[in-house]
Subunit: 204 residues, 2 copies
DNA sequence: AGCATTACTGACAATATTGTCAGTATATAT
DNA sequence: ATATATACTGACAATATTGTCAGTAATGCT
């Protein structure tokens, strides 16, 4: 009768990964309110005290999620920008897609829950990208032209907030506005936005 | 010794207003997690069953908040667009400011909590504004020019998602990017964005 | 004044949620 | 094989949270 009490024993890293994935899925599915230790544990197939064992507290889990989100965003953005010889339009698409699929929601939620959470990391990412973009613009500009640094910052800011807003409300907006929810619509939008940006002679 | 059991008795509308204001303040202050009946009741100076009395349930309160947010947004946007003879830049500023101060956060949160909440109302607002904008563009275009309707929709979408993203992450972005948090920075950003839009011959 | 209606409250119930703890099982080292 | 370290769990505790209910008091009506 003695149940064979098989118990899995993971490495701490594996366990943390498993729990973080479950937590991210929970947030994406049910919104911020979905962050319940019991639900996450059930989804991950572990007991809820295990979460506390690995993250100390619920707040610790939130901190870990913040770090995860920032790292994930950076990785996706790096991938988007280091892809060689693609068009402005393709780069825009990559950036927008980076925020979709839950990451945008997570960032937005974390921004309100933990406003000063990973300020420094986020700042680094942003500066890094502003620098890269500015460098490209300088390189692409005709010799002797002065490329405004502020304009580079504004451009980064516009794309960033638009991509975030898109991740959160984009689908609803397209539905409401009568734009078909199809990859083709996205493609046309990104193409239009790319034109808009380039029309001001802003090489990206 | 008998305490003078003075009890305020409001009209249902007054009570609902009081509670909704407290709930909005709670969301703006502590994020989505701040929506606790007890806290809201305390902030409003009433007992928590009163909230249930007037809204039926917590879900009922959320529905009311959704409607409020949509109406508030529409009012602010109407005001922004009906202001006579202002510049593109000023209109952009009004739209962005409409989302700030908590409304953007509320809309974002409600979008995840209640994704199909006030779809129809939101759709009406969006269509309404797309129509207005398109009308203006047609009127402002030289005779004989064909003004793309899709472009009008894209423009509305871009401004909407950018304004929403700005409300949520704008302050953090400006801080991270080294842009000073001052009205002057906003002014310059809106001016730049207005130029960007007009450069594609897009009268707004 | 008396009456009906209902906004309002305190007390209570049921459940959910975070966190603690003692003990168990498993991997690793010796 | 034995020992050590620790990932892991079930049971429990403390508190929070939504919701119910019976009763109270203020308002409007006749």
């Amino acid at each position: 009768m003695a149940e064979s009490a098989k118990r899995v024993r993971r490495t701490p890293d594996q366990a943390r990964r498993l729990i973080l994935d479950a937590a991210q899925a929970a947030i994406a599915r049910t919104g911020p309110e979905g962050l319940r230790l019991h639900d996450i544990a059930a989804a991950a197939g572990v007991s809820h005290p295990l979460i506390l064992h690995h993250f100390g507290s619920r707040a610790g889990l939130v901190r870990a999620l913040t770090r995860e989100a920032v790292v994930e965003l950076r990785d996706k953005l790096v991938a988007a920008m280091s892809e060689p010889d693609n068009t402005t339009e393709e780069q825009l698409a990559r950036v927008f897609y980076a925020f979709r699929g839950g990451l945008g929601q997570r960032l937005a939620w974390l921004a309100t829950v933990d406003p000063d959470g990973d300020e420094s990391a986020a700042a680094m990412i942003q500066r890094d990208f502003a620098d890269r973009l500015h460098g490209r613009r300088v390189a692409a500009a005709p010799p002797g032209t002065i490329v405004s640094r502020e304009e580079s910052l504004f451009l980064v800011q516009l794309i960033a907030i638009a991509a975030l807003g898109d991740a959160i409300y984009g689908a609803q907006f397209r539905r409401s506005g009568g734009l078909p929810e199809a990859p083709e619509t996205d493609r046309r939008f990104f193409a239009w936005l790319a034109t808009l940006i380039r029309a001001r002679a802003l090489p990206v």
